[in-house]
Symmetry: C2
Subunit: 245 residues, 2 copies
Amino acid sequence: MNDIPCSQCPLRALPLFVPYAPGDLELIQSLKKRVVSVKAGESIIQEGQADAPLFTLFAGWAFRFKTLSDGRRQILNFLLPGDFIGVQQKMTDASPHGVEALSDVNLCTFQRDALWALHRAAPSIGFDITWLAAHEESLVDDNLLSVGRRSAEERIATLLILLFKRAAALLPQGGAEGVPFPLTQQHIADGLGLSLVHTNKTLRKLERRGLHRIEGGRLFLRDARALVRLADLYGDGKPSPRPLI
Amino acid sequence: MNDIPCSQCPLRALPLFVPYAPGDLELIQSLKKRVVSVKAGESIIQEGQADAPLFTLFAGWAFRFKTLSDGRRQILNFLLPGDFIGVQQKMTDASPHGVEALSDVNLCTFQRDALWALHRAAPSIGFDITWLAAHEESLVDDNLLSVGRRSAEERIATLLILLFKRAAALLPQGGAEGVPFPLTQQHIADGLGLSLVHTNKTLRKLERRGLHRIEGGRLFLRDARALVRLADLYGDGKPSPRPLI
DNA sequence: CGACGTGTTGATCTCTCTCAATTAGAGTGG
DNA sequence: CCACTCTAATTGAGAGAGATCAACACGTCG
């Protein structure tokens, strides 16, 4: 695994990713430390861990989370292949969140100072990283809107749609056959600020209504229109611009 | 106002801010467009607004928010002097969130392409901006943990402490005389995913217990210890587990 | 086979929401 | 100086979405 050069990273073949300038890839390659594999359910970064690694999720799903001292856990966002983790942490500090693998994952890890090296040596990549960090924040923003202001049904509809879209964008056929869905109901509950039991009941209700189906670790949207309506999502999942009054 | 050069910006005198390398300030100054004032309660950026400005909050408080089409509003985080806004937005895109002034504010606005110009011309500033974006995300993360997993009492305690800390850090005496607190109860409710009525009742309960006091637009913590306990915030130090990678 | 993790469902319970009404203060205009 | 209006804060009462408690089904695995 470690012998695949960045220039042949399968992630780069996806239409999502922008081409780099010549030389950029070599730079990234030189900062890459190694490829690490983590099994489903295992911890990638522990909450409070000092000197946590910087990495790109290369294959598999994971999630960032925080917990309270009595064990209540909130999943902050889900990580899919191509996501970059570690910017959140001050260089010298403890990681403010934990990261755990949802499925078996592979990570490309980088040296702690890679962030600075990239910025200095290739400002355009530094710029992309800033954008990446901002983009991840917007995922958290979306989730916060859900958790703060949507009902259980609406939250679940929102999560299913947004995860489906992200996952489908990584597939060649775009999700016609469903998308991989390695979350348990406990993950959904922890991501949406709901109890496990209520999550189950709501999920079943939507499924019985024919809105979706989760089976064999895959998610199928059976009535995406209805889900979008429930979620109050338009087009891209962005709120529709509202007129001035 | 517009004639104050960046080199004499009062914000820079605060111990929070790092000194820039010579030349950096001139660069920033050159990208600065103008200083804008907005009155309390007015909109700074509208949800979905195209070509929203990039700015630093120079004086006063504001907040970022999102709304659902039926009017339910979630405040994502509060902005205090020194906070930088606009990275979240893709260059060409509509703003995914609105920004509104809580008090009368002054903003230093920048050209839309200032982000890129900074990265290219001064990588160290670009690096700082990445860090700033990541830091703001961590505020949202904290809030998401509250909204998703804390009770109403705990959420309010958490918000009061964190806002107090941020506000006190901007004051010379560090909050001995309380800190400015321009939020209405509706803002607190929208920030914590609570109803206005329940926010009021919880706030009064904590106040009657002698934990805090809000008066004349200022916040006083009367029993910070008890608030911290309620909020389940451990100063800054969390247990530091062993690194896995 | 028993232990365990995950999903399901029914029966309460309670925290928080919604509805309603009142009070207090800041402006405004006569 | 005093009605009039508006916004923010308050408080009570009743309703409800979602939490908690308890069982049970099913598949995997050592």
